[in-house]
Symmetry: C2
Subunit: 590 residues, 2 copies
Amino acid sequence: MKNTDLSAIYSPSDIRKMDEKQLKDLALAMRKALLEKVSAHGGHVGPNLGMIEAIIALHYVFNTPEDKIVFDVSHQTYPHKMLTGRMQAFTDPAHYDDVTGYTNPQESDYDLFSLGHTSSAVSLASGLAKARDLKGGKENVIAVIGDGSLSGGVAFEGLDYGATLGTNFIVVVNDNDMSIAENHGGIYADLRLLRDTNGTADNNLFRAMGFAYRYVHHGNDISSLINMFRSVKDINYPVVVHINTMKGMGLPVAEADKEKFHFSAPFDLKTGEVYSPNAASETSEGYDDLFANQLLERMKELPELVVISAGTPGVIGFSPARRKEAGSQYVDVGIAEQQAVAMASGLAKGGARPVVALASTFLQRAYDQFSQDIALNHQPATFVVFYGSIFGINDETHLGFFDLGLLSNIPNLLVLTPTCKEEFLAMLRWSEDQRKKPVVIRVPGGAVRSDSKITILEDYSCPSYEIVRKGSRIALIGVGTFLPIMQQAAENLAMKGLDPMVINPREVSTLDTACLDSIKDFDIIITAEDGIIDGGFGQKVASYLGDTDVKVINLGLPKEFLNRYNAVELQRECNLNPDGVADIVMSALK
Amino acid sequence: MKNTDLSAIYSPSDIRKMDEKQLKDLALAMRKALLEKVSAHGGHVGPNLGMIEAIIALHYVFNTPEDKIVFDVSHQTYPHKMLTGRMQAFTDPAHYDDVTGYTNPQESDYDLFSLGHTSSAVSLASGLAKARDLKGGKENVIAVIGDGSLSGGVAFEGLDYGATLGTNFIVVVNDNDMSIAENHGGIYADLRLLRDTNGTADNNLFRAMGFAYRYVHHGNDISSLINMFRSVKDINYPVVVHINTMKGMGLPVAEADKEKFHFSAPFDLKTGEVYSPNAASETSEGYDDLFANQLLERMKELPELVVISAGTPGVIGFSPARRKEAGSQYVDVGIAEQQAVAMASGLAKGGARPVVALASTFLQRAYDQFSQDIALNHQPATFVVFYGSIFGINDETHLGFFDLGLLSNIPNLLVLTPTCKEEFLAMLRWSEDQRKKPVVIRVPGGAVRSDSKITILEDYSCPSYEIVRKGSRIALIGVGTFLPIMQQAAENLAMKGLDPMVINPREVSTLDTACLDSIKDFDIIITAEDGIIDGGFGQKVASYLGDTDVKVINLGLPKEFLNRYNAVELQRECNLNPDGVADIVMSALK
């Protein structure tokens, strides 16, 4: 076997000259490079290993970038990036960070959209196809979507529309029989049936939705894929090409434990052991563990307590062992946030105690359900928001600092912002027990923080700001993660002879007007929140006190889609650290 | 035929004593009463006329309210209300307004949720079923959903999860072969096939999703329905009961023109002619007509201009005749807002000029797509928002005053707020032409207003507040619909010797800081917006000027789900009229 020279591949035209033997060698070389990169650097492991052959075949058969491919989530596009001018970012460790983990139009014309949320590729591609038809174009339009992503409602909406296009529209369903974790949903029985019958079963979801249908059983065999893609190239009606691939293919530990190697920090290629940069701190629990352990304990007392995940159990601490322990009190609805939130309304109405746990960036997919099904109906469900912080995920597609304003401007919804583990667990416990109102609890960002001095309440349902440091003239209000910043800033200012009050608002959805009234004769009030300023907590304070003489200064993040930012630098730029806050105070006093 | 005494029916137990002949008489009497009410009072006509028999049969067979029925949208629940203690609201004109147009738990224990947005019933019911299972209950849980509603992604998510419940779960699909207008989507070919084959076709969407399946061809025949519902009562696995009904049944004009009589103002029962309370003003166009006519004109010049509706063409002025005129430049994606918005991103990327037109209350269903697919990707699509105003729809389920903050806090999205038809059409025209950024245009609320003095810009992409009245010390900033209120307030104040400046901000997503800086030495700035204060425009102004001496007072709506409010009274309560604004100014000056 001749060694393939990956560095000679600059664009898909370089592989279109190859014969199938050379393509297979290429796949091997790419897999080797990918394994080296992801094991050393971390990243999405299984999704990329499983799609090497399909992506080679797609670029081989289709005339990209004239022909257009939209990858759903786009976490499986490392092979695509390798073939489209970005090989060095996968072969040279010094350049590993040259590319993002998702498609990105700023990197390449082969990347059509910046995307990372699930299930939208078919809709996006349907727009490209309709634009082509309006303009009289002839290019192929292809959406690539995984079986896990099919559970999201927007994927269904896209398929439902796409089936009616009446022109070229190719949906490649990459079926590896896995979501991030195992799949959940009625459609997966049908996908299994189709795999088991080599695509011949009468009961066919895609045909029932109006698509023509083709099946490739060996979805990691380049020849089979090329033959199939050739057969649908330039087709003049919508077709689903269902390919059966192996997630994690070529890495035995990933083939064996697909969930663990969906995404991984750097790991040992042979043993699969994940390297932990902070081995010392591994003994301490994360907020996900704290959450899961408290819930598992409570489930024993409360048979009607149920935790709901929308396809991301790993985010919320529900490992396979914990899911097993929870039994029927754990529900994974698939990547279907709308279902998770609306179902929680039904659960609460039916007398159960639902706790929906979500990543900040994904909860916005269920805004209408938060508003209509939960808040309008006053259903006492609990929502626990992970990664809602600048210390969450820093990809522009997965930011966690838009949720505060989004949720706190919905009527009836109580949005709690704990500052430490003691407060988080107390709020969670209270919310599990209460039957009064819908509650959002935003998990603090960053490492777990303990504060034994925090005051725990019996009831968090009414606004009640905690004065954690008494003071005068100056008030520093720190929301959630940022309370300690305000506490440290106060100490800095105290050394300069000032005496700032520090306030933990505990929640951001309703103002504690009694507390604010008591400080309206102060000189300065500074708010700091772990989210964008626009639409957030600080602006409510500024508005409430707009007709008084106190100066109100809101600190927070700009309304921007930041990408791969450094959190500490960002804090500095936004004065969201003790020195920054102290400087703001000193300037304002001048 | 004995006349049925409707006034003797207080609850479903009253009909459970009847024989089938009596039930049929009951249906006739209910239809007669419904026809009288909707023709005299207005309301949802077709959906209710088509569901009389099915609702009688459901309450006859199932032991409501122990057995639980969730009605999707719940616009078809007039017969349900008639049978559950609210008959008088349908037989006595003096009591017509005693009930809302949707299910409402405050009215009756038979109403489980307050709902009005589409496609959520299956998800809500799945939560009720899961709660029952956790608690060891035995009741039946039934979701009733129309064929049109099936196009919404959350319905798919609910079905996908519901199919896995493994216990009693009954989904009644009310198939009348219509959405509000005609259906659009690949699934509708399958529904037709199932109807045409009496439910026997192999290609079966519901079976492919994991449900057992039953079909009732005569969905307006009480006997057939009762037999079917009896056969699935207490079933111990998920089943879809697909019933074929006639929308508008019993009213010939509604059977003939299902779209016109989906919802109607009062009309003549014989001719179907809709009574217009303001016949004189009928000659003037509404904003929907202005929108549709301008678009139809522009489509002739721009073959890549395309209007997208999510199943509500009537809201946006696209009558059947105009849809025909637009041809392939009009797209209805079904009740699928996520698809509408994500598809627009693909269209814009592909070089087309998409204009998505939505009702304010429904656009929130696509928040994630606005954020990720449109804004993050800077795609130059245009979104035109109807009913975004207190003068929109006043049902708590359909409010139009949460959109301003929701959209204006998304990065990169330009949210324009025209104040009159000249400005609306100019902004629309500009947005159709530009390729720079995504633009939202919020149609003014209330009757069409003309203002020949408004300044039209060549380019609306940068914040540029218009000073429509010069003045000093006091600035009144009126957003969109509320600019005229500020203009009149200024005149009132001028008579008291004051000289207020009046500002039209034109947009609410970015501050014109140069303008705000120029008035920061004023005494008072008042903002008024046609939306909730929380997260809105005024709070941005208050925050920006928080460290200055100018007093900023934000006027707008409280963060509440108001229900069937009177707009004029609401304006008075919130000081959102000229006298209220003038009073606020006078008080602040004291």
